[in-house]
């Protein structure tokens, strides 16, 4: 704890160890309803994997058309693991943050304590990472039970999912801090998150997309998260490809963090 504290308190670090107090706040809220998080964290993947992986997979597998002859269940399981983390991160960075900034103004209350705007940002990003970790571990358990992973490397799909979550959370939090209502979120989810969910190589290879759409998939963070997690899960790891995916995710997360630092300060320090 002290070591982490010292490191984070250094000038230039993203925030002081006070941001851990913000995480504590979120965990206090979580403690009240942890069972609902766990329940939905288990039931969602189970339903998706059974319906699509096993049900739909019967037809997909008959043609044996997936690259490397991978069973459809194995193909979508790691992708859905990452997607679920993304969805949770996107949600947590939109409405709840809006509440803290604008509706309930609990951020403003916290700013009257030694906490600063960047502590709030860092603390709530840690909460997103925590929630993504929890969801992904539960999803991983379902994958293992259903035998949907060929390689033990699938455990590393969890950190990939958490990194993907942060690559969404940071830029969305940056966006949220510029909003005064939730109108923008509807557009964000309708035209951003949902198309990504469908077209980032989650359910079919992006090579099947029209040629002009493929570069678009390349620049979306979800594509990189899905591709990285899948390569680990099916045991076909290309170290160079994996490095590129991780670097792309980290880059988006860092750019998002940089933007969020600016918009949080601008919104909360006036």
């Amino acid at each position: 704890m002290t070591v982490i504290g010292l490191r984070l308190a250094r000038p230039g670090a993203i925030a002081s160890r006070r941001s851990l107090r913000v995480l504590e706040h979120d965990l206090l809220v979580f403690r009240r309803g942890w069972y609902s998080y766990v329940l939905s964290g288990m039931s969602q993947p189970f339903l998706y994997l059974v319906a699509m992986g096993i049900g739909l997979g019967l037809y997909v597998n008959r043609n044996g058309s997936l690259p490397g002859g991978v069973p459809y269940l194995d193909y979508i399981a790691p992708a859905l693991l990452v997607t679920q983390a993304m969805m949770a991160a996107a949600f947590e960075s939109a409405w709840p943050i809006m509440g803290k900034i604008h509706w309930d103004k609990t951020y403003h209350a916290a700013l009257n304590t030694p906490l600063g705007a960047l502590d709030l940002l860092a603390g709530d990003l840690m909460w997103v990472a925590f929630r993504a970790t929890l969801l992904s571990v539960l999803f991983l358990a379902v994958i293992v039970v259903l035998g949907a992973a060929a390689s033990p490397l699938v455990v590393f799909a969890v950190p990939i999912a958490v990194l993907t979550a942060l690559a969404f959370a940071a830029p969305i939090m940056a966006f949220t801090a510029t909003q005064t209502g939730d109108g923008g979120f509807n557009a964000l989810f309708r035209f951003g998150i949902t198309p990504l969910f469908l077209f980032s190589g989650t359910f079919f290879p992006i090579e099947k997309l029209p040629l002009w759409l493929q570069p678009l998939a390349w620049i979306t963070p979800l594509y990189h998260g899905v591709a990285a997690a899948r390569s680990l899960s099916i045991g076909q790891v290309d170290p160079v490809g994996l490095s590129i995916h991780v670097a792309a995710l980290a880059a988006v997360a860092l750019v998002g963090l940089w933007a969020a630092r600016i918009t949080f300060r601008r919104r909360l320090v006036v």
């Binding site: 504590e24 206090l28 309930d104 103004k105 609990t106 209350a109 009257n112 304590t113 030694p114 600063g116």
Partner: protein, 320 residues
């Protein structure tokens, strides 16, 4: 944490030419004031006078545009977190956490101030007792009444045992009973030596709580003193209020005073609904008015208040 001890002679808050601008709008325009340790200091003024902007600068959550400001002898721009560690803040909006219980709202604030969970719980329990909310400890915040929420916010502001408490309109929107309960608690804190700094647009609140106050209007300080000093300086001891019957043609008899109040009082203020006669002896003035043939619909003699001071200084009433 090393504390800078403020010598008894040094003010807790010190402001010179303090200014806050939002773009081209000037919210606070070069104000000077000092708050001494143990004092109850008030900012009295209508909405939009610059009270909240001033409080937010003192609370180090709003950067100073120009001028000088120190709190506990420290510069807010440099030592914001250190200053806030010793401040209690009751903001205008309750900003309570609806996802947490009454007790948890206090506990997590204790953690924000780096208290251990055990210490935070000890203080939270004590504070709930102090604001008479012990029975509601496990409840959610939402169903609480306005007065209870206000008391909870006061309890929350005390979790770090602050030596300076900033209160932005602590009783606005509360019913009279709830207001008196809040006043009583603030008075007890003052007795314990906590320095209070508050804003209000209620003159009775300022009279009840403040040792000294400044009157703010349009981003500036227009007067300073104790409530009594301000009243003595700007108005008379008593005020005679005369209301006149409204005529069918929408004029009232006050339009036909014809100078019959002349020489009766030091000053006469004609408001839309009544005439205020400032005089040392209200009863005598009322009798004279009657002798001169005036027949007001109602006559009231009262002690003058800060409301009258404000009217005198700005030509407008405090609460519109």
């Amino acid at each position: 944490m090393p504390e800078t001890t403020v010598p008894a002679t040094q003010p807790l808050i010190h402001a010179r030419a303090l200014t806050k601008c939002f773009g081209s709008f000037t919210a606070v325009n070069g104000i000077d004031f000092d708050v001494a340790p143990g004092e109850a200091f008030g900012f009295l003024g209508p909405n939009g006078a610059g009270k909240t902007s001033t409080m937010r600068m003192i609370g180090t959550v709003s950067p100073v545009t120009s001028g000088e400001l120190t709190v506990f002898g420290l510069d807010p721009a440099q030592h914001g977190a250190r200053i806030r560690a010793r401040l209690g803040v009751v903001p205008q909006a309750d900003t309570l956490d609806s996802e947490l219980s009454v007790l948890e709202n206090l506990l997590i604030f204790g953690r924000y101030f780096d208290l251990s969970w055990a210490e935070s719980r000890r203080r939270a329990t004590e504070l709930l007792e102090f604001v008479q909310l012990t029975e509601r400890a496990g409840d959610k915040v939402e169903p609480l009444s306005g007065g209870m929420k206000r008391r909870l916010v006061i309890a929350r502001s005390l979790i770090n045992e602050p030596s300076l408490l900033l209160l932005d309109e602590p009783t606005t929107g509360l019913d009279p009973q709830a207001r008196h309960l809040v006043w009583d608690r603030l008075y007890r804190l003052k007795q314990r030596g906590v320095t209070l700094c508050l804003t209000t647009h209620y003159m009775d609140e300022a009279e009840q709580l403040c040792d000294r106050l400044v009157v703010m209007d349009q981003a500036r300080i227009v007067a300073e003193g104790s409530p009594r000093q301000l009243i003595d300086k700007y108005v008379t001891r008593e005020v005679l209020e005369l209301r006149f019957r409204r005529n069918d043609d929408e004029t009232d008899d006050s339009a036909h005073l014809d100078g019959r109040l002349e020489g009766l009082a030091e000053r006469i203020e004609q408001l839309p609904d009544r005439v205020l006669v400032y005089t040392a002896d209200g009863e005598a003035a009322a009798a004279t008015a009657y002798e001169r043939g005036l027949r007001p619909a109602s006559v009231l003699v009262r002690r003058s208040s800060l409301e009258d001071v404000f009217l005198r200084l700005t030509g407008r009433s405090l609460v519109d």
